[in-house]
Symmetry: C2
Subunit: 295 residues, 2 copies
C-alpha cells in the first residue's frame, strides 16, 4: 500500500470541497472569504479529513456521509492555526513557506477570519444532510466539546501558561491530549458518526477513541524526536528549536530511545484497537507512516 | 407593565445559568474559564436572552426549553465583544466601567477566551435537552449561520472595511443588518425554535424575523440619535463620538427628525408583526422601550 499516494489523492478530493464551501456569497464579504480560503487551502497533509473518511469507510458508512464532516474538522483546524500565528500568540510570519494570514490581511481581518472559519466548520457539521438528524447533532455537539475550552482551546491555554514554567509530565500529557489530541479524536469520531455509530458504549466508538489517543500522542513524541534528531533540510525547518525556546518536551523526561519505544507502544495500541475490523489496513498503515515519518 | 423590572428579573434569572455553565471543570483550565466568566457576567441588559425567553413563551413553548438557547446567544454576543475590544480591532480598555478582557488577562488569553466563549455558546444550543433533536439541530445550524461570515462576522468585516470610506446607505444598512441584526434575529428565532417551530414558512417564524428586523434596525438608529442628542451623564459615555471618528451613521443620510420617524416606523412594523398573537404585550412594550430609551 502506498499511503503517501492515498493521502495525496484524499487531499485533491477534499480540497475541492474545502474551496467550494468557502465561495464568496456576497461581494461585500470578498475580503473575509478570501482570507478564509487563503488559510483553509494553504496545503498540509489533510490528515484529519483522511481520518474522517477512513473511519467512515471502516465502519461501513457511505463516502458522501463523511465529506461535510471532513470539511468541518479541517476548517476548525485551519482556524486554530490562524489565531495561533497572530502576534499576541506565537507571532509567526510564515507557515508552510507562505506568509501567515495576519501578514497578508492584517490582524483585524485575521482575527475575524479565525472566528468565521471555526464557525463555518461547526456549521458544516450541523448541516451535513448525508447523515441522520441524530448523527448530525451528536457530531456537532462532540466537535464543539473537543474544539472548545475542555478540548483544543483548553490545551492551548495550558501551553500558554506553561511557558517558562517547566511543567511536570502529567501536565505535558494533558496539554498534548487536548491541544492536538482533541481534534484527532474528533476526526476519528466524526468518521464513526458518519457511519451512524453515535453510542459511546459501542465497541467501534471505543476503538476509534483508542486509535486516536495512540496516534495523537505518538505524533507529538515523533515531533519532539525530529526536533532533536531530524534533518533540517528534510523537515523544512530548523531543528533544536524546542531547546532554544526552553520548551518542555517528552525528551525532558526520557531519552530518545525511550521516547521512540513509547511512540512505538502507543502506535501498536492504536493499531490493535482497530485490528478486529476488516478493512483496517489503511488506518494501520497510516499509524505506522506517522510513526516513521522524517518530516 | 414595568418592562425595566421584567428585564432586571430576567437578568437575575439567566445570570445564574450563565455562571453555572461556565464553572471550571479542571483546575488547569481555571484561567481560561475565569476569563470566560469575566466577560459573560460583566453586566448588560441581557436583551438577547430576554428575546429568546419571550418568543418561546409567545408561541407556547415551555420556559425550560429556552434556557440553554438563552445562554447560547449571550455567550456568542459576549465573545464578539471580547474580540472587538482587542487592540487589533477597536482597542478599547474599558467596557461597562470595567477593564476589558485583554487588559485583565492579556491578549493571548483574551483571544482564546473569545474562541472558547463562542464555542461554548454554540455547544449550549446543540446540547439543549429540553427541545427535540430536530429543534436543537435546526437552532444550532441557524445560530451558526447568523453568527458567522454571512451574519455577524460578515457585518464586522463590512464595518472594518468601511472605515474612512464613506459607505453608501445600502452598505450601511447591510452592515447593521448583519453586525447587530443577525444576533437579534437569532435570538427571536431561538425562542421560536424552543417553542418547536422550525419551519421558515410558518407565519410565526416569519413574524419573529420581521419583529427582529424592526427592533434591530431601530435600535441602531436610536444609538446614532443618542450620540448626537443624548445626555452624556445618562448615557454613561461621551456623545458626538461618531462625528469625532468620522463615522458614517444614519444621520449622514437624514435629519434627526427623519431618523426618529424611521425608527418609529420600524418599531411599528415590528410590533404589528406580533400583534396577531395573544400575549404579545411584553414584546410590544420592549420594542417601544428600546425606541424611547435615553441610554
Amino acid at each position: 500500500m502506498d499511503i503517501a499516494k492515498l493521502l495525496t489523492e484524499n487531499t485533491e478530493f477534499i480540497d475541492v470541497y474545502l474551496a467550494k464551501n468557502l465561495e464568496t456569497p456576497e461581494k461585500e464579504l470578498e475580503t473575509l472569504y478570501s482570507s478564509m480560503r487563503y488559510s483553509a487551502l494553504s496545503g498540509g497533509k489533510r490528515i484529519r479529513p483522511f481520518l474522517v473518511a477512513e473511519f467512515c469507510r471502516l465502519f461501513g458508512g457511505k463516502a458522501e456521509a463523511a465529506v461535510d464532516f471532513a470539511c468541518a474538522i479541517e476548517y476548525v483546524h485551519a482556524s486554530s492555526l490562524v489565531h495561533d500565528d497572530m502576534p499576541c500568540m506565537d507571532n509567526d510570519e510564515l507557515r508552510r513557506v507562505k506568509p501567515t494570514n495576519h501578514v497578508v490581511y492584517g490582524e483585524d481581518i485575521a482575527l475575524l477570519c479565525g472566528d468565521a472559519l471555526i464557525t463555518r466548520g461547526y456549521e458544516m457539521a450541523a448541516r451535513n444532510k448525508n447523515v441522520s438528524t441524530e448523527a448530525a447533532l451528536a457530531a456537532t455537539a462532540m466537535l464543539l466539546r473537543e474544539a472548545g475550552a475542555v478540548g483544543m482551546m483548553g490545551g492551548q491555554e495550558i501551553d500558554l501558561l506553561s511557558e517558562g514554567k517547566n511543567p511536570d509530565f502529567a501536565t505535558l500529557m494533558k496539554m498534548h491530549e487536548k491541544k492536538t489530541g482533541a481534534l484527532i479524536k474528533a476526526s476519528c469520531l466524526l468518521g464513526t458518526f458518519a457511519a451512524g455509530i453515535t453510542d459511546e458504549n459501542d465497541e467501534r466508538y471505543k476503538a476509534a477513541v483508542k486509535y486516536a489517543y495512540g496516534i495523537g500522542l505518538a505524533f507529538q513524541i515523533v515531533d519532539d524526536i525530529l526536533d532533536v534528531e531530524g534533518d533540517a533540510a528534510v523537515l523544512g525547518k530548523a531543528t533544536h528549536a524546542d531547546a532554544a525556546l526552553g520548551k518542555t518536551t517528552f525528551l525532558s523526561f526520557m531519552s530518545v530511545a525511550e521516547a521512540r519505544a513509547y511512540a512505538e507502544k502507543l502506535t501498536a495500541e492504536a493499531t490493535n484497537a482497530i485490528a478486529p475490523y476488516a478493512g483496517n489496513e489503511t488506518l494501520t498503515e497510516l499509524a505506522n507512516f506517522l510513526l516513521t515519518r522524517k518530516k
